[in-house]
């Protein structure tokens, strides 16, 4: 049997990598993909605890998180397409219309 802490460490590793991706990359699409990594890491955490406590609640929460991630990815990518049509760029540094 794999102890629960192994899964928690895996989830933590994925979470950290996702955070590094969000904070470091310039390409907005890759930032969105790193956010998906973070949500994925949280899902592993939930499912590991769901198995540890023997209840299905963790998996239900994980299903809702996947649903939420789908909605957020759709809207986020729509925004990126709209912005790209106007400014021809997908780099976060160059999206500075509101800067003084």
């Amino acid at each position: 049997m794999i102890p629960t802490t192994h899964y928690l460490f895996l989830s933590l590793a994925l979470f950290t990598i996702g955070v590094v991706g969000v904070l470091t990359r310039r390409n907005v699409i890759i930032i969105l993909m790193s956010i998906e990594l973070i949500l994925n890491a949280v899902n592993i955490n939930l499912v590991a605890f769901s198995r540890m406590f023997g209840s299905v609640n963790g998996q239900i929460f994980a299903i809702f998180i996947i649903t939420d991630a789908a909605a957020e990815a759709a809207v986020g990518l729509g925004i990126i397409i709209a912005f790209f049509r106007n400014r021809e760029t997908v780099l976060a540094d160059e999206m500075d219309l509101l800067k003084w």
């Binding site: 991706g21 991630a69 789908a70 759709a74 709209a82």
Partner: protein
């Protein structure tokens, strides 16, 4: 063997695949390569779910995440692909500070786990409480969690309309 070596091999294989693919997502120069590595990472995560006896979540992850969300990502990457993007800087000016801070965050979270690793390792309960998995999830979704279920469906409707409005050329 079913109780010892094989689950460990399976876990370490999927875990290594997930972590290595995640690192490659963040590090790749081309967005399409990042997307492919993210697909690999999500598939490895699906394998982890299968090992945690969450079979419904395993197939839902593949159908929704890999077969739905990532297809959307790949489409958008193909639509906004710029030839010049491969020669631009990939990392912003704060990459060093951000990486150091993220690693500090990771260590901060992992210290309690490492120090209390005897306490969190409660043996998992018998499989009978969570099988049959699909039926139990269905019952929980439609009995206990009916309200969040309906709210999630409204959320998806709103997201659909929002995405279509965002991406249209003329409203």
């Amino acid at each position: 063997m079913a109780n010892g070596l094989l689950p460990q091999i399976v876990f370490y294989f999927f875990a290594a695949l997930a972590v290595v693919s995640a690192i490659l997502v963040v590090v790749s120069r081309s967005a399409i390569h990042s997307a492919i590595f993210l697909i690999t990472s999500l598939l490895a995560t699906a394998g982890i779910y299968l090992q945690l006896e969450a079979e419904f979540l395993f197939v839902v992850q593949i159908i929704l995440y890999v077969g739905g969300i990532m297809v959307l990502f790949v489409f958008v990457i193909m639509l906004v692909n710029l030839d010049v993007s491969l020669h631009q800087l990939q990392f912003n000016r704060q990459w060093l500070v951000a990486t150091v801070l993220a690693i500090v965050l990771g260590i901060h979270f992992s210290l309690p786990l490492w120090l209390d690793r005897g306490v969190v390792n409660l043996p998992p309960p018998s499989a009978a409480t969570m099988q049959p998995n699909s039926e139990m999830i269905g019952q929980a979704l439609f009995q206990n969690y009916m309200l969040p279920f309906e709210i999630a469906s409204i959320l998806l409707l709103v997201a659909m309309i929002g995405a279509v409005v965002m991406a249209k050329r003329r409203i």
